[in-house]
């Protein structure tokens, strides 16, 4: 079918505007997707450079490079920027580019709001990053900003941090409303819910999670603001408040938040593995139900982050059991990917390599997560490097690898050029080795008793910290190669066909490469062969 039926009644509206203003005023989902992706990559490099400061300081015992107060600012800013600036906007960028093309929609449903939701972000992060130059320094209380460390003892810049979080929240809520409205209203005729690609499904569920929990985050930072400036005592025990309340509210946001960062990754991997295995996804319906179950469970397990906070026995038991349950739908997902690979006809292009690495390393992170769920054992793991290793395994070779896989997979469609396959593979192997050298030893130092968020450590942790730092620099600098590959692909390369990948299914592969500025201005007809494969 022709997906680019152009009416040509008014040429003015069909091409992008010229110059810088194109990007400022754009309401085109592809432009906005591009903006999101570049923004998130910039934040990834910024947050990554903070991580390298942390790892450099931890290369050896003793204080060498930074002082403890600056170290704490680095851990805090690294976490905030990676979560809110790198991973979340990258997935929104992918949603912008892909959701309309996957469901046969001409654009996102609310294009003007789409523009706003992106352009809030540079201001939010400029405000957040500017705290580094303020008197008293940047926020230094960890990305979880536990009260009363953040309220009664935080630096003056905490107020700017609160407003930055508010802006990010507004941006996320607008972005997710846009995704929900687009998916529910703009699907092409015949694209029923159960025919949607899994990336669309996972994003639909993610968007609901965002709408549900971002207001909770806004609430908790507003309560902080009141405590700091208006004399309330929500979290101040001295005024009748409760520091533990902060943690309950924060993690009620925080736990769904970690699934917000992984569900779209599941969608990406569920698109890539069938393509390169040349075999249909094993259990489409069970994947949808598993995603929905994970989303539901994410709301009822938050206090497993708080096993040592002094909950009563009944609370500990409940949160332990509920958390262990998450292993079931997550297992279903992993088994489905493995069953999809089984008896396929696999090739191993860069997106497939990242997707397979995702399955393996995310599973390792999932298994250490299962260990952490066992409350009595968690008394030993809690707040050690074991936890750091766990959540980095699900976030870096989890979410971040899936984003990289997605970029390699769809960039021929975006730019019309194939990326450099040889360099892509080099990038993959450097990242794969780097990430494991970086995070695997952290399991050991965590079990051996090294607490997290410390600028210095006892001598018995020295060897593994040194190895970990070497891995960090390898992984970090490999990402400059990623940037080079992407830029090279934008400016040239072997021309991509519309189909791009032999085994790819879905509406986005029916339109030419590069995708025209406007696609599906007339809705396509969807039959089974073009649905989820």
């Amino acid at each position: 079918m022709s997906a680019v039926i152009e009416q040509h009644h008014d040429d003015h509206h069909h091409g992008p505007a010229k110059g810088l203003m194109r990007w400022v005023f754009t309401t085109n989902h592809k432009d906005i997707g591009t903006l999101y992706l570049w923004f998130s990559f910039a934040m990834f490099l910024l947050g990554g450079s903070f991580a390298l400061v942390i790892r450099a300081e931890l290369f050896q015992p003793g204080l060498q490079i930074v002082q403890p107060e600056f170290f704490n600012q680095m851990t805090t800013m690294h976490g905030l920027i990676m979560v809110f600036g790198a991973v979340m906007p990258a997935f929104v960028g992918l949603a912008n580019w892909l959701v309309p093309m996957m469901i046969g929609a001409p654009d996102m449903a609310l294009p003007r709001m789409n523009n706003y939701s992106f352009w809030i972000l540079p201001f939010a992060f400029t405000m957040l990053a500017s705290t580094l130059f303020m008197e008293g320094g940047a926020p230094n209380f960890g990305w979880t900003f536990y009260a009363p460390l953040s309220t009664e003892f935080g630096p003056p810049s905490t107020t700017f941090f609160i407003f930055a979080v508010h802006l990010m929240g507004i941006s996320s809520i607008m972005g997710s409303i846009n995704v929900v409205v687009t998916i529910l209203n703009l699907r092409a005729p015949g694209m029923t819910l159960m025919k949607m690609p899994l990336f669309v499904w996972t994003w639909l569920i993610t968007a609901y999670l965002l709408i549900a929990v971002m207001p909770v985050l806004a609430g908790v930072v507003t309560m902080m603001l009141m405590d700091i400036h208006f004399g309330t005592a929500f979290f101040n025990a001295g005024g009748g408040g409760d520091p533990v309340l902060f943690q309950h509210v924060f993690w009620f946001f925080g736990h769904p938040e970690v699934y917000i960062m992984i569900l779209p990754a599941f969608g990406v991997v569920s698109a890539i593995i069938p393509t390169f295995a040349r075999k249909r996804l094993f259990g489409y319906a069970s994947m949808v139900y598993a995603t929905a179950s994970i989303a539901f469970l994410s709301f009822i397990v938050w206090a497993h982050h708080m096993f040592t906070v002094g909950m009563p026995l009944a609370g500990e038991l409940y949160f332990m059991y509920a958390t262990m349950l998450i292993a079931v739908p997550t297992g279903v997902k992993v088994f489905n990917w493995v069953a999809t690979m089984w008896q396929g006809s696999m090739t191993f292009e860069t997106p497939m390599l990242f997707a397979i690495a995702f399955v393996v390393l995310f599973t390792i992170g999932g298994l250490s997560g299962l260990m952490l769920a066992i409350a009595p054992a968690d008394f030993q793991y809690h707040d050690t490097y074991f936890v750091v290793a766990h959540f980095h395994y699900v976030l870096v070779p989890g979410s971040v690898f899936s984003i990289m896989a997605a970029v390699y997979y769809w960039i021929p469609k975006w730019t019309g050029n194939m990326y450099d396959e040889k360099l892509g593979k080099v990038h993959f192997w450097l990242s794969f080795v780097g990430i494991n050298v970086l995070f695997f030893p952290q399991h050991f130092i965590g079990l051996a008793g090294m607490p997290r968020r410390v600028p210095d450590y006892a001598l018995q942790f020295a060897d593994y910290n040194m190895i970990s730092t070497a891995g960090a620099f390898l992984f970090g600098f490999s990402q400059l190669l990623f940037m080079f590959i992407v830029v090279k692909c934008v400016f040239g390369g072997k021309k991509a066909t519309a189909q791009v990948w032999e085994g790819a299914h879905g509406l986005e592969w029916t339109i030419p490469s590069p995708a025209p500025y406007h696609t599906f201005t007339t809705p396509p007809k969807v039959d089974m062969s073009e649905a989820h494969g």
Partner: protein, 379 residues
């Protein structure tokens, strides 16, 4: 389960990462510890670990096999199977069964941990930025033993000016001393931010939350010195507030306790006598180094704006009443703590005198411990 084998496996894993080191013995795995509880937790940890290893090996094994056998390059043709209800039910139900099996020992252990029971000794553990205060609770207030426990590692070692000795960052000035084979109850709380009191060998980790008193207990089997650290980010020196517990025989514990009780009685005599300027300055410097230098720095210059300089400005060169007041009562909303509850009258007098006369602050006045004592007790 054969522990030797388990260890071998972990060491082999660590060798993969090129780290054949002399102390691999306890840097790759959780410590078994020295209490029944910690050993139960260790066993639980090993069970889950092996369950995870088996699952991992199976899943990754199938993937690897598939990647070797089902590649296009060797002419593999894609099969077309999908959706098999039997398999899908199996891989939902089997994990549920595994989880239930894992949940049973976890529940038993958790139950035992929460059974505080009757304790032999009650110790209040109070977190401060960045040290611990231990109070041996006694019905007779005169016999109550109370002391602060802070990092002993000198800043020269931290700043790489002198070689780091054994127990770098894990040494304190005053250890917590407990008898073995007694049920010790810890009542854990905090004076400022949230800390967490963690001794890995006891498998006790509990947050110290201001406004809450949390309970934890231990019963140590083997005498020895056990080291831990604060486990909850609590500000600048979070990495520098270790915990050291010395577990000893009952007799040794009793003589230690008697000694501590005598020391407390002696403080009354010390406070009562007339001190000279030199005595106050000497004592003041040591009090300052232990309590004040982490923030205000050894040279008194501080780290403005969070930690103000004391040299030639502010309360240290102002009215002595205000100077004493801020040390005794602290300043709300800042890191400046109320030291009135942490150090005795002689130490307060000494540090006030020291700050007013060190680093070129030549105010020339001094304050006697007696005066401070009268203020503190409201006499």
């Amino acid at each position: 389960m054969d522990k030797g084998k388990q260890h071998g496996w972990l060491v082999a894993l660590s060798l993969l990462f090129g780290a054949a080191n002399a102390h691999a013995d306890w840097t790759v795995n959780m410590r078994e510890g020295v209490t029944e509880m910690s050993r139960q937790i260790y066993d639980l940890h090993m069970i889950i670990f092996w369950v995870c290893v088996v699952i991992g090996v199976l899943v990754f094994g199938v993937m690897l096999l598939s990647m070797l056998m089902h590649r296009k390059s060797i002419g593999a043709e894609p099969a077309s199977f999908h959706d098999n209800t039997t398999i899908e039910i199996a891989w939902t139900v089997i994990p549920v069964i595994i989880l239930v099996v894992m949940a049973i020992p976890a529940t038993t252990t958790l139950n035992a941990m929460y059974d505080i029971g009757e304790s032999d000794i009650d110790i209040e553990v109070r977190g401060y930025q960045w040290k611990w205060q231990y109070t041996y609770i006694n019905d007779d207030p005169a016999k109550e033993v109370k002391f602060m426990s802070a990092l002993l590692t000198p800043s020269e070692e931290i700043n790489n000016l002198t070689p780091k000795r054994e127990h770098y960052l894990l040494d304190v000035d005053n250890e917590l001393v407990i008898p073995i084979n007694k049920r010790i109850r810890f009542l854990i709380t905090s004076q400022d931010v949230i800390h967490a009191w963690w001794v890995p060998d006891f498998a006790v980790k509990k947050d110290a939350v201001p406004g809450y008193i949390h309970e934890a207990w231990t019963n140590v089997i083997e005498p020895g010195i056990y080291r831990g650290q604060c486990a909850e980010l609590c500000g600048k020196n979070h990495g520098f507030m270790p915990i050291v517990v010395r577990a000893v025989e009952q007799a040794e514990y009793e003589s230690w306790l008697a000694e501590k009780q005598q020391e407390a009685a002696d403080v009354f005599d010390i406070v009562g006598k007339e001190w000279t300027m030199d005595e106050l300055m000497a004592e003041g410097e040591s009090v300052y180094t232990r309590n004040c230098a982490t923030c205000h720095q050894a040279n008194g210059q501080g780290i403005p704006p969070a930690f103000p300089s004391l040299v030639g400005q502010g309360l240290a060169v102002g009215a002595i009443e205000a100077h004493i007041d801020i040390i005794v009562n602290g300043k709300a909303g800042t890191a400046m703590q109320a030291f009135g509850a942490q150090i005795n009258a002689a130490e307060i007098a000494a540090v006030v005198t020291y700050e007013r006369n060190a680093w070129g602050n030549n105010i020339g006045d001094l304050v006697q411990p007696k005066v401070i004592h009268e203020q503190l007790t409201g006499q």
